[in-house]
């Protein structure tokens, strides 16, 4: 079983985002981490690998700095590390095409990713890659098992949750999983440092990134909120409740 796990390196969720000249200043980011939902996908991939004697291929599309995250993935058990340069990528469709090309190259049977990345918050990658691969995609899963040739998982439904099964090439986009990503041991860390990372470009993969219908104009800080009204002590609760009704009209 070839298990592809799609990973993205993002500013740590505790990091401050600083804008400089109309763009997020990446140099000011204090810490880069694996996107939190991708960690759940990776842990599930490692469990699937252990249970089915599989091969885990960790794939990222990003700048050179994201190679470190692949090494981190190797330290917990990723077998093959693929870095796709994001140079020339203009929109999410481009990213999906690059990822899908690598997935096909490695004949992955199952593809795991986070439900959305912590930077763009889009959630397009899993279903978009599935579309290109003509694969099933189940989103917002926490755990996936493989029995009798079928993948079994739970997903939220209108009335609660439902247990679903899919077969053939399948994509799973993870919400918070049941198990946190395992920690690497010293031997894993040492081995990972020696592990080769294969780098690829859009040209290597035959993906055309020349055009896009979308252009980024600017990135700006969120709109400032006017200072609120603050009251000291619970005796002001009735005043605030009447303001909620008469000023804000929300209750």
């Amino acid at each position: 079983m070839n298990i592809a796990v799609l990973l993205k390196q993002v500013p740590d969720t505790t990091a401050k985002i600083i804008i400089s000249e109309g763009k997020v200043d990446e140099n000011s980011v204090s810490k880069w981490s694996m996107s939190p939902y991708d960690e759940y996908a990776l842990e599930s991939g490692l469990q699937m690998k252990d249970a089915n004697n599989g091969l885990l291929i960790a794939i990222t599309c990003g700048p050179d700095r994201s190679k470190k995250m692949l090494t981190d993935a190797a330290a917990v058990g990723a077998d093959t590390l693929i870095h796709i340069s994001d140079e020339g990528v203009k929109d999410s469709t481009h990213t999906q095409q690059l990822l899908a090309a690598v997935i096909k190259k490695f004949d992955a049977n199952v593809i795991l990713c986070g439900k959305q990345a912590a930077d763009t918050n889009g959630g397009s990658t899993g279903p978009g890659v599935a579309e290109i691969l003509d694969a099933a995609c189940v989103t917002l899963v926490s755990e996936v098992s493989f029995t009798d040739g079928k993948y079994i998982t739970m997903r939220p439904s209108n009335n609660g949750t439902e247990k679903v099964s899919v077969d053939g090439i399948s994509v799973f986009a993870f919400d918070k999983g049941t198990t946190e990503l395992r920690r690497p041991n010293v031997r894993g860390i040492m081995m990972a440092k020696k592990k080769a990372i294969e780098s690829m470009t859009s040209a290597d993969l035959g993906v055309d990134l020349s055009s896009s219908n979308v252009t980024l104009d600017s990135q700006t800080p969120p709109p400032e909120k006017a200072a609120g009204q603050k009251f000291d002590g619970a005796e002001h609760v009735p005043t605030v409740v009447s303001k909620l009704r008469n000023e804000a009209n929300v209750i």
């Binding site: 469709t93 918050n121 978009g128 219908n213 600017s218 909120k225």
Partner: protein
Amino acid sequence: MSFTIIAETNGDTLHPTTYQLIGAASSVGSKSIVICPNGRAASEASEINGVEKVISVVGDCFDIFDGGAWSAALNSVCEGKILISASPNGREIAARLAAKRGIPVIQDIVSISEGLTVERPIYSGKAVETLTISGDAVITLRPNAFDAAESGGNAPINTVNQSADIKISIQEAINKASERLDVTEADIIISGGRGMGSIDNFTHLENIADIVGAAVGASRAVVDEWGMPHRMQVGQTGKTVTPSLYIAVGISGAIQHLAGMRSSKYILAINKDPDAPIFGVADYGIVATWEEAIPALKSALSALES
């Protein structure tokens, strides 16, 4: 110019976000062609101001949700710019349609203006990006960020039969016991943090929620350390919410949490620490312990509702 709108429904009626999608199209001078999956709420859609045409796409493929099957069936009647709600299912259909058509997908926009220029929060609201869309694209709209279109129209309804392969099969449906509102659906949310002392004290928040018809949310600390269900978590690694009123009780306001709720229309913060960062984003702040404030809140709200 017309936009294609994929209707979101709640059973046999339109979800309020569908009115917002049509309102957003009208705000930039576009008519709407509304596509109703499986014909649900088609006649309701035909009576909305700004709707030029309704297309009911009917088929067995809509019996369960499979984003691949849905987008395959809907694709043949889509054209130009496509607007969909940024709900989980909406985002999935949007990503699929965009990949199928080889056009970009822009998720979760909060504003749209002629040009076509859109704004979307990134880094969970720590920044906003402005994009210009020059051709066809699939765009999802954040619920409650746009003015709804009014009723008042009489558009024709066309029906199209479609079939598509369903790749997902449902083995078992497990209905949830609780009838409590989900945080992403609620117009008012009351959330508790570590300052609530223990998970048992959340019953006090539930009492308030029952009075005003609110959903109950929680901070990450409460979910991670006290075992509150993750579906209640508001924040960067939980749900992003945009209710009319967000009440934060005993939540200090870590950047992680603010990212998930700062675009709420109004925020009321109750915290005993006057320097808690939550007061920085609150429209109304009360410096008090929950033990003092919640009973007062309960009686003031009960008085209003009675």
